[in-house]
């Protein structure tokens, strides 16, 4: 397998603070790879080391097999799309895109040709002489990406470029970015704190916390089979119960006094653990009696209507522990009212226990 990027034992400390604490991963050629983590987890530091703006404390960075440590950013075959895009305000769109090509000593006609082609590819044909300040947020985004992609880098790094856009545009750009990546076939490394961006666009996602990778997996697996409690709580919505493990190691007793048959993700759990249940794993209005289901009563408190993403807030059994349950919009549950008590069930495999 051809690896676009290979990182081994990469570490970066600032005085006593370990920003990146031993990261190992590789990215296959032409994939969309995301690094997802809360702010301050070290993802920007990691990205800046790949781009060459920071020297790692130790470890190795290989791009297409070549060691990159000690090589300055202007000599690396990677390009970075900045968070604020950093389009040069004193140049027009064409000059912005031509900036990198001029540094490679391309001929004038070649530059013109390439600029024209790349602008057409990002659906901005004929925008060469436009002023950067006259573009909309989404257009600026595409110019910034075109400016980097025109250099045909081995890897394109993106530092939360959608952060400054409004919600609607962000949704559009997610799809657009994914399409662009497909068309160009360039390896994209995208860092974000927004799990939906990472899940929608990526072939693979690495979840980062405290300078370490918690899990590297496909978005589907990350969501369905999180390996650690951090991943389970950070990726997607989830309900968390504090619990203690029973003697049989197959069920737990929650703080609210309910017994759940569970699936132990972490085999090392001693007594106390956390039980994670996704909102959509809870099935409403079920009949009792199935072997591997957990049953409980839910007192509906509030219905949070949000179209296809409607949820209810409900209390479990008689306790005041609130959980979130997804409400499918097929009108089957349209009669459910606030204050009603309904029977609900969860399959054992959806009750995951973590340290």
């Amino acid at each position: 397998m051809n690896h676009s990027l290979e990182i081994k034992e990469l570490k970066k400390s600032f005085q006593d603070f370990k920003a990146v604490d031993g990261v190992d991963f590789y990215v296959e050629e032409g994939k969309f790879f995301s690094i997802l983590g809360p702010s301050g987890c070290g993802k920007t530091t990691l990205l800046r080391m790949i781009a060459g703006f920071l020297e790692p404390t130790s470890g190795s960075i290989k791009i297409r097999g070549d060691e990159m440590i000690g090589i300055s950013p202007n000599k690396r075959p990677v390009n970075l799309v900045f968070q604020n895009l950093a389009l040069f305000p004193m140049m027009d769109v064409g000059e912005n895109i031509a900036f990198g090509l001029k540094r490679q000593n391309c001929s004038k006609s070649e530059i013109e040709e390439k600029v024209k082609n790349i602008l057409e590819k990002v659906h901005l044909g004929g925008y060469e002489r436009k002023n950067v300040s006259d573009l909309s947020g989404g257009q600026k985004q595409r110019v910034a990406i075109a400016r980097s992609l025109v250099l045909e880098p081995s890897i394109l790094l993106l530092d939360e470029p959608l952060g400054a856009l409004d919600l609607k545009l962000r949704e559009q750009m997610k799809i657009e970015l994914k399409k662009l990546q497909h068309e160009f076939g360039t390896t994209f490394i995208y860092i974000t704190h927004d799990q939906s961006e990472a899940l929608v666009m990526s072939d693979k996602v690495a979840v980062m916390n405290n300078g370490k990778f918690e899990q590297i997996d496909t978005p589907e697996n990350l969501y369905a089979n999180p390996k650690t409690s951090f991943v389970a709580s950070f990726v997607g919505e989830t309900n968390i119960f504090e619990a203690r493990l029973n003697e049989d190691r197959k069920s737990v007793l929650t703080k609210e006094g309910m017994n759940f048959k569970v699936f132990l993700v972490d085999e090392k759990i001693q007594t106390f653990c956390k039980l994670f249940i996704r909102p959509e794993a809870v099935v409403l209005l079920v009949d009792d009696g199935m072997e591997d289901m957990n049953y409980f009563d839910l007192t509906i408190k509030t219905i949070l209507f949000d179209g296809s993403n409607t949820k209810v807030l409900a209390n479990v059994d008689k306790s005041d522990h609130e959980i979130m349950v997804s409400l499918p919009q097929n009108r089957r549950f349209a009669h459910i009212k606030e204050g009603e008590v309904v029977r609900a069930g969860v399959h054992v495999s959806d009750c995951k226990c973590y340290e």
Binding site: F53, K75, P89, M90, R103, R147, L151
Partner: protein, 285 residues
């Protein structure tokens, strides 16, 4: 506009108008008339362009002006070269903690008058001055040399006097430049040299232009520093004007020189703006 806002408008407008009109426009009109009058052979004052003709026909006048204009351009350039690294260091290199302190340090010498500062330089540079004393006592020189009263020391003095007016606009325009522009250019393959000339200079161009205009005008119109630090050969055009008014008591000729200074320096700035493709309104905003 209703009555209230009209009243408010006049309250603020009238003092400004009176100030400008009575103290600036009116005397200038008087000077303009004066410059256009010439005493003919009969001893009568008549309308004439003779005072202006004098400037172009008498070599010493226009040569002085030319020399002063070239020196002013040189001083402006040198001031830029000296202050740009300082401004860059303060805004981009040093930790923001010390930024305010360093700017205060820069401003401090300008809290005393130009005259005092020039005398300070004279104490340092003159034959019996501080620098000569040290050079002689360290046996680098056999006997003290005169460092004052030549063009080099005068230009140094002018650059020193002008620094503040260049460094402040430079700091403010460098401050407005996001570091990511420099990083983005570096990432796109530019060397430090290219980044400086293609990104930093064009971005800070408005600041450079406004600083340069101020420094150029102040240098051209300076009287004190060339007079005190310059030698016998460093005649400044302002001294010519002074001589006409005070020494020869030829106010008409002095007024004409004053207007020529105004017109020619404006012309030089206009040419400078055209050559660098800069916009005055943008530079001063």
């Amino acid at each position: 506009m209703n009555k209230h806002t009209k009243f408010g408008f006049y309250i603020f407008f009238i003092p400004v108008f009176l100030w400008l009109f009575l103290l600036i426009v009116l005397p200038h009109i008087e000077l303009l008339f004066m410059s256009l009058k010439y005493e003919n052979d009969m001893g009568e004052m008549v309308w004439s362009l003779q005072n202006y003709k004098e400037f172009f026909s008498e070599e010493i006048y226009w040569l002085t002006f030319l020399r002063v204009a070239l020196y002013a351009i040189l001083v402006t350039f040198l001031t830029f070269v000296v202050t740009f690294p300082i401004a860059f260091y303060i805004t981009k290199v040093v930790s923001p903690k010390y930024k305010g302190f360093l700017i205060i340090l820069l401003l401090m010498p300008f809290w005393v008058s130009e005259l005092v500062r020039v005398y300070g330089w004279m104490i340092l540079l003159r034959e019996s001055g501080v620098i000569n004393y040290f050079l002689v006592s360290l046996h680098i020189l056999d006997k003290p040399i005169e460092m004052l009263y030549n063009d080099v020391s005068m230009i140094m003095g002018l650059v020193y006097t002008s620094m503040l007016f260049m460094v402040v606009p430079l700091i403010s325009s460098l401050d407005g430049m996001d570091d990511s522009y420099i990083e983005a250019a570096h990432d796109l393959g530019a060397s430090k040299f290219i980044i400086f000339f293609k990104i930093v200079i064009p971005y800070t161009a408005p600041g450079i232009v406004s600083g340069s205009i101020v420094v150029f005008m102040l240098t051209l119109g300076n009287y004190l520093t060339p007079n005190l630090m310059g030698g016998k050969n460093s005649l400044w055009f302002t001294e010519q004007i002074y001589n006409q008014f005070i020494a020869s008591f030829n106010w008409n000729q002095g007024a004409a020189f004053g207007f020529l200074l105004l017109l020619l320096s404006s012309l030089i700035i206009w040419i400078g703006l055209k050559l660098t493709k800069q916009n005055l309104a943008k530079a001063l905003s």
